[in-house]
Amino acid sequence: MGGALLEVRDLKTYFVSKQSTVKAVDGVDFSVSQGRVLCIVGESGSGKSVTSLSLMRLVQGPQGRIVSGEVLLEGRDLLRMSERQMSDVRGNEIGMIFQEPMSALNPVMKIGDQIGEVLVRHRHISRREAREKAVELLRNVGLARADEMVHEYPHQLSGGMRQRAMIAMAMACQPKLLLADEPTTALDVTIQAQVLDLMRALQKETGTAIILVTHDLGVVAEMADDVVVMYAGQIVESGPADEIFDRPLHPYTRALMDSIPVIEEERERLRAIPGTVPSAAHFPEGCRFADRCSLVEGRCRERLPELRELGPGHSVRCHLA
């Protein structure tokens, strides 16, 4: 993978306190190329959100710490940058959108000023120019009343509109990478589809790479070029989206796909995966999925499997695959 825009190597983010060390992200490698969409999938507690925050170096201190690893954006290691250099990257080269559009906008700041702030910060233009640009940006994300909206406050906008405004803000400086942490989870289904369409359209237009963090396999199927499946702070399977959907190799990936309700099929119950993700404070000795795996064998509990490449770009962390 020569042309990777962002390359993450052996990223480890721990939350250290006197009592315990919580290994929220425990050795994650992946990369995204320009114009591609990478989806990071996993259930709650799998470390996917901490991964995305780590890329921005926004893990809350003093407990949260990136212990090791490299995050290379076009070859420059973000983890070695000074805080000042890093803040030049944030919003400029990497844009980010959040799960909760309701709370992610400052309630006492006009929409136009919030979007403009990014431009003033990174493009060093005047406030007035920034506001004009904000109107244009809001139009680009499909908000027709953009010229009125710049004078409005977040409470006057609906959830879907706010998420669009957030996207406009994240895309304001035409970042090379857009980090979206569950951008559609808090929206209702029709708005979800529109927001995803919008992200796709913007990506086509600008060639931005997208890292989409989600637990919704429907969203993955819709958007992803590449998929990373995370479980208990580690990658258990990664590869091109078609491969993963056609030939899921890890029992966890298969279980995830089985747990999606299918409308055509009459099922007695949902096929949920029994149990929960093990606490990141004390992982079991062997495979971290062993306790919930239906195919578990003796060796699974003894040794943590390595991530092995079994097909073109398709890697799995399982003894049985």
């Binding site: 990257v89 006057q156 919008l198």
Partner: protein, 300 residues
């Protein structure tokens, strides 16, 4: 683009003009009768003290030596004291001192408290622990002793000395409260969001957190003002307030503490007492009104 289809639908059911959350709160404030009454009262009190010369032609510092200890007459509606000072003039002018002390001291404590508490809450962790321990120390600072010492050392006592002393001793209370607000705000998504667009610490504190803490701060100011209106009165009672030749409500009360004055000269001490009570009451009404107006629970 599919997005265009949505934008038409999203244009409906909106308020015609966009009002800031602050505007909305102010409008709510003016819908509360008690708050408006408080505001009217306070404005009236400030008016009569600021424009005192319109209401009396006596000076608070020029005694009318021909009429000492006079009961209320046409010339001196509230009588004069033992030195011949006109009581009405002293009440009217005296308000200037009390109100100045109250407002300036409240402002000073709030500015220091906000900066200190804001920084402490924003950074959290070790810095916060350290700063809050210092607050604990300052909360136990012997205020009255400091007043005594300053007055003894510099041999002066004026309202500005008083304000300064209050300012440097009374900020820990507000600082601690504001630190709590900032700790809460720090976890808000939009604060994290401000980081994701590359905002620095000070920008986040001043542009994102402070405006969101403003409603709380304004309410706190009002209660601080109420607390300090009585301060000069309390200190004067101990003989520590502004010097006796400067007219102040507390000072007048202090000169009337004798049993005989309390019994026989209510016209001398009731008016300043009423003024103090009314001021505290009106500021508290305003504070309550502001608190209700800013309460997110009532926000629509």
């Amino acid at each position: 683009m599919a997005a265009n289809a949505v934008s038409h639908a999203s244009g409906v059911s909106r308020a015609p003009k966009s009002k800031s959350p602050l505007r909305l709160s102010i409008e709510r404030f003016f819908h509360s009768p008690l708050a408006v009454a408080g505001l009217v009262m306070l404005v009236a009190i400030v008016f009569v003290t600021v424009f005192a010369p319109l209401f009396t032609h006596f000076s608070p510092s020029q005694p009318d030596i021909m009429n000492t200890d006079s009961p209320p007459t046409a010339l001196h509606p509230l009588g004069t004291d033992g030195s011949g000072y006109d009581n009405l003039a002293r009440v009217l002018y005296g308000g200037r001192v009390d109100l100045t002390v109250a407002f300036c001291a409240a402002m000073m404590t709030m500015v220091i408290g906000t900066l200190y508490g804001g920084v402490s809450g924003f950074f959290g962790g070790f810095i916060d622990t350290l700063m809050m321990r210092f607050v604990d120390v300052m909360l136990n600072f012997p205020f009255i002793s400091l007043v005594l010492i300053v007055e003894a050392v510099f041999n002066t006592s004026s309202e500005w000395v008083l304000i300064l002393i209050v300012g440097i001793t009374a900020w820990p209370g507000p600082a601690r409260l504001i630190r709590g607000v900032f700790l809460q705000l720090r976890e808000q998504d939009y604060v994290v969001g401000a980081r994701t667009v590359g905002c620095g610490n000070w920008r986040i504190i001043l542009r994102h957190m402070l405006p969101n803490a403003m409603s709380f701060i304004i309410v706190l100011v009002s209660f601080q003002v109420a607390a300090y209106v009585g301060l000069d009165a309390a200190l004067s009672y101990l003989g520590l307030g502004v010097p006796p030749n400067v007219a102040s409500w507390g000072g007048i009360l202090n000169t009337s503490t004798g049993y005989m004055s309390l019994r026989t000269e209510p016209y001398a001490w009731v008016p300043p007492a009423v003024m103090i009570v009314l001021t505290i009451l009106s500021v508290n009404f305003i504070g309550d009104g502001l608190r209700d107006a800013f309460d997110p629970q009532t926000r629509t």
